[in-house]
Subunit: 326 residues, 2 copies
């Protein structure tokens, strides 16, 4: 039977708690891992992984630990990215390198990456070579995406295609890889695996762009934070790239006045840049792009040869992710 | 046929160069990996891994890439350890985080760890689950060893057993794991794998203690460096731990005057502490301990049920490692 999102989330949560408990009983290197995993997160990646398995099989037992591997890998990237970005907070708590120190953040992150491989391998042995291949290729993609993201910070000529390529590597491929891993364990053939991967990849793009959209145009009451965090941080998002491309002299002057300038009033900066975004029609443009990626994702899902009923939880989750207001 | 050490080293070198070449043709994240691997190193771990395979089989083809995995993993730990230790130089060249920056060192190290898993998996598929298990357990041991080593820096009550446990995790298990991986690929049964592991583990202990010995008592003409690097860095080596344990009031006073004190004359510090080491008989004690571990290693090797001729290259390398003067 196809499991509901709630069922899937319960499976993940209980397996995650078991993993955290075991880590807590071990050497001090594992404490920061438990700390970060306990701090929360939407657990979207493992959920999508299990749902992908559930498209093809009712027996999810072999898919649970590999799904957890994806979540642990994702959190490993957060632990190291937070060091690289010098971020003080994560999920409302101190980042690991701030609560402990940078060395602890590096070393516990390394251990976390190794543990993700251990979790991945906790399934049917005959599947391990293929899972390992997908997992490692995906992992390197994510590292390359992070590298591009860092390089973008010091560049002023980042184009739309490059940006989309970067978020594809940094965000989308992990969702795609997570789903392919689930599909492999579920017994999907190669064609179905490819469709599942494409679904995850395009959904991941839409998901990341929705994030950027909400940061600029989200309702502060619903998101729970002031809009314009990316603007204040001078982050090179698609919105800023497109704004610079579409600008006339007058709007360009406004952008150039505020971007990279931390000596101005925050509220004034955010409002002025947001006005430019609106004036250039970027709210609509972003929405259209998100719908495009969403459409591609849905098309891939539709092409998978299983019953509509089996696809329902994935479709529901995809819809929820893309219409979310926070 | 049993391959000579030179044959083995040639196989590793050519495979390593191929790996470096491919990395050079890829994204910028892989350049620091090539840089560090090209800088040199004795390649002892992959050599021992191949030799372990060669104990049981003449066909080493499936053992080469996993042996390289060990070398890449080892270099990954060096890249991250150098950040944690704030080391400026490695193999006579700038460390990666000094030549590029800390973020590059973290991220390229992460990619390197993932690449080591890719190399490990480039062998007979049916062996992968078992290899993966040994590799991940070993990897976590090494991380735990590094964690202990860092914790020792701020402690003044480190005992002999703890120290030996730490170097076992940080250094010995990787040699042991490398050899077990080779043995598995060579087709060794469980008992033989265990003996091979024990050989590597005890040889690793002797090897690390020989390092500590040479740092204190080595002939500067042969080692190419002034003795006492560990003393100057106030490193908590077995020599210092034992010196503090064995000291009477007068020698203890000398140690306490110099250890942790960077305002004194370097030459005076090294000479005074070395005199205490000699007076307490630590040169002999260290030699005896090394011989003990060496003896255990040789005993395990002797018990492996293959011909003496097949064991010869391993025995030669072990002897060379333990009688080395540099």
């Amino acid at each position: 039977m196809t499991k509901s999102l709630t069922d899937i989330q319960n499976i993940i949560q209980s397996e995650l708690l078991r993993f955290i408990d075991i880590n807590n009983s071990k050497s001090s290197i594992y404490q920061p891992i438990s700390y970060l995993l306990q701090a929360g997160g939407k657990r979207i990646r493992p959920a999508m992984s299990l749902m992908a398995a559930n498209l093809f099989t009712d027996d999810l037992s072999g898919a649970i630990r590999p799904a957890l591997a994806i979540e642990v890998f994702h959190n490993f990237t957060l632990m190291h990215d937070d060091i690289m970005d010098n971020a003080p907070l994560r999920r409302g708590l101190k980042t690991v390198h701030k609560k402990w120190n940078t060395n602890v953040g590096i070393l516990s992150g390394d251990a976390m990456l190794i543990q993700s491989y251990q979790l991945l391998a906790d399934t049917q042995p005959e599947l391990i070579p293929q899972l390992l291949d997908v997992f490692s290729v995906t992992g390197l993609d994510v590292c390359e995406g992070q590298q591009m993201d860092m390089e973008f910070e010091t560049r002023s000529d980042v184009g739309v295609d490059e940006y989309l390529f970067m978020i594809r590597l940094k965000t989308s491929v992990l969702l795609a890889g997570a789903m392919q891993i689930g599909a492999i364990i579920g017994g999907a053939d190669n064609d179905s695996q490819k469709l599942v991967y494409e679904f995850g990849e395009n959904l991941g793009m839409a998901f990341q762009l929705r994030d950027d959209y909400l940061d600029a145009f989200g309702d502060p009451i619903k998101t729970g934070k002031q809009p314009g965090g990316d603007i204040l941080a001078d982050k090179k998002t698609l919105l800023l790239i497109r704004a610079l491309e579409k600008s006339t002299a007058s709007t360009k002057a406004i952008l150039e006045k505020y971007i990279g300038n931390s000596n101005c009033n925050s509220k004034e900066k955010v409002n002025s840049v947001l006005e430019v975004f609106e004036a250039l029609g970027l709210r609509e443009e972003m929405n259209e792009l998100i719908i495009q990626y969403d459409g591609k994702a849905i098309k891939s899902l539709a092409a998978i040869e299983v019953t509509t009923e089996r696809k329902k939880p994935l479709l529901d989750l995809a819809t929820a992710l893309l219409t979310r207001e926070s």
